[in-house]
């Protein structure tokens, strides 16, 4: 029973969503609306569940003094700080309004920290490109050349360097050519492959063949 009811629900919801896609009329359109509202509600609860779970795991890390526990303590402190500021220190206005402490924290703490994490990628990519981006074989050389042309062709300096070439043969044109023909062809092939994989997995779920989402073996 514990497995049959969830399986039945999966099949029912899956069939409704498939049917409403092809028959967007009542009663299927109403069913789709109702189920979509449920998804939004469940997703909202999932955010809370995720936040509370993060707190629980972090609190356990601190309590047991596990490896890197100070980071867990920082997570708890940051979570509490921004929550308390957002809930209780908005001075009668909405917490996101300009000038509130929450807005200040978002702009001056969260924003630069988050941007810094992403910006560090540039340094690691440079280091990796020096150590790992090698023309070891034919495929790697092709990749290297393509990367070379796109990197130069996608910045204004590329056309400065190839300005002596006739219009249409400059680095920006070569970069466009690479992005529009081999890149698009490869990406579309991958996307079609992924779509077919999703269709087959969805069918397995709807038909009750795939059961791994219930926690058992598939």
């Amino acid at each position: 029973m514990k497995r049959r009811i969830p399986l039945l629900l999966t099949t029912l919801v899956g069939v409704i969503f498939v049917v409403q896609f092809f028959v967007p009329h009542k009663p299927f359109s109403d069913m789709q609306g109702l189920l979509s509202d449920w998804v939004q509600i469940i997703a909202a609860f999932a955010i809370w569940l995720g936040a509370l779970n993060l707190m629980r795991v972090s609190a356990e890390n601190v309590q047991r003094r596990e490896r890197n526990w100070p980071y867990a303590a920082i997570i708890i402190a940051s979570f509490l700080a921004i929550s308390v500021v957002g809930f209780f220190f908005s001075g009668g206005t909405h917490f996101q309004d300009p000038g509130t402490p929450f807005d200040w924290m978002y702009q001056n703490v969260y924003n630069p920290l988050s941007a810094t994490m992403f910006a560090m990628l540039a340094f690691y990519v440079a280091s990796a490109s020096y150590r790992a981006f090698r023309a070891r074989n034919r495929e790697a050389t092709l990749l290297l050349l393509a990367g070379f042309l796109v990197m130069l062709g996608r910045v204004p300096v590329g056309d400065k360097l190839s300005g002596f070439l006739p219009e249409g043969y400059r680095l920006s044109n070569l970069a466009d050519l690479i992005m529009n023909i081999p890149n698009k062809a490869g990406q579309r092939a991958i996307m079609i492959g992924i779509a077919l994989g999703i269709v087959s997995t969805s069918l397995r779920l709807i038909l009750g063949i795939e059961k791994s989402h219930l926690g058992g073996e598939g």
Binding site: G33, S36, A122, A126, S127, Y130, P156
Partner: protein
Amino acid sequence: MSLLDRMLTLDRRWIFLVVAVAVTVPLFLHLEQKIEITQESRGVFEGLSGLPAGARVIMACDFDPGSAAEVQPMAIAFLKFALSHRLRVIIMGLWPQGPMQADLALRDALRDPAVAAVAPQYGIDYINLGFQSGNEVVIQRMGSDIPMVFPRDSRGQAIAEFPIMENVRNFDAVAYVFNLSAGYPGTVEWVQFAGDRFHARIGSGTTAVSAPLYYTYFPKQVTGVLGGMKGASEFEELTGFKGKGTRFMLSQSFAHIVMILFVVLGNIAFFASRRRKRAGETAA
């Protein structure tokens, strides 16, 4: 220690230092750069510039501060262009930080003299509907009932109170969707659900990493794609609202050159060490 050995064992902190110099020094230089416009960027501009005054456009902000360096200049240029051309902008986000980034972009846009001249009003000319959980299901639901998905704006006021939301039932009331995307959910989901299913016209502004994937939708499923900071600078050039996208392109140019130099040096060291190893094996 030979030069080759030094190259092979180069401390990565030297690489970090060179990258830091290459990125920061150009910020203080004032060199004019000619921005070449790609057809993908032109597609976004043409999709937008053909709209009549009063047309509603959705600015879907699906990004966070991590990708703001590339995407935020697009948001600012979009808002400046749309508001100064009297388009009515509906802001929303499937990422929690998206609508907050839009608020920051709005503050920038509203200070621009061209925007200030038309004095756009909240609730009449623009509105921020905030974040909604549910990813692609939110887009699907918007296809049938936008007020059901967003009954209130980001500040908790009922959307029925705002003239901009009058008679907005679904995507039929929206002339264009501009999605600022940094991953999932993002442009892929907007194309699959709003575009393919409900025939919404979509333009995408995204990070340089995601752009190659989104180019596959151009020109039929999206009118255009702005890819990374280069896309932002092109859009700024097209709209006439030059900002950080254009200003930071010089840093990007220098960073790319440094990266290419590192690849070349790395390969020289690689081939030289391989030759030395082979010579050693032959001698043995």
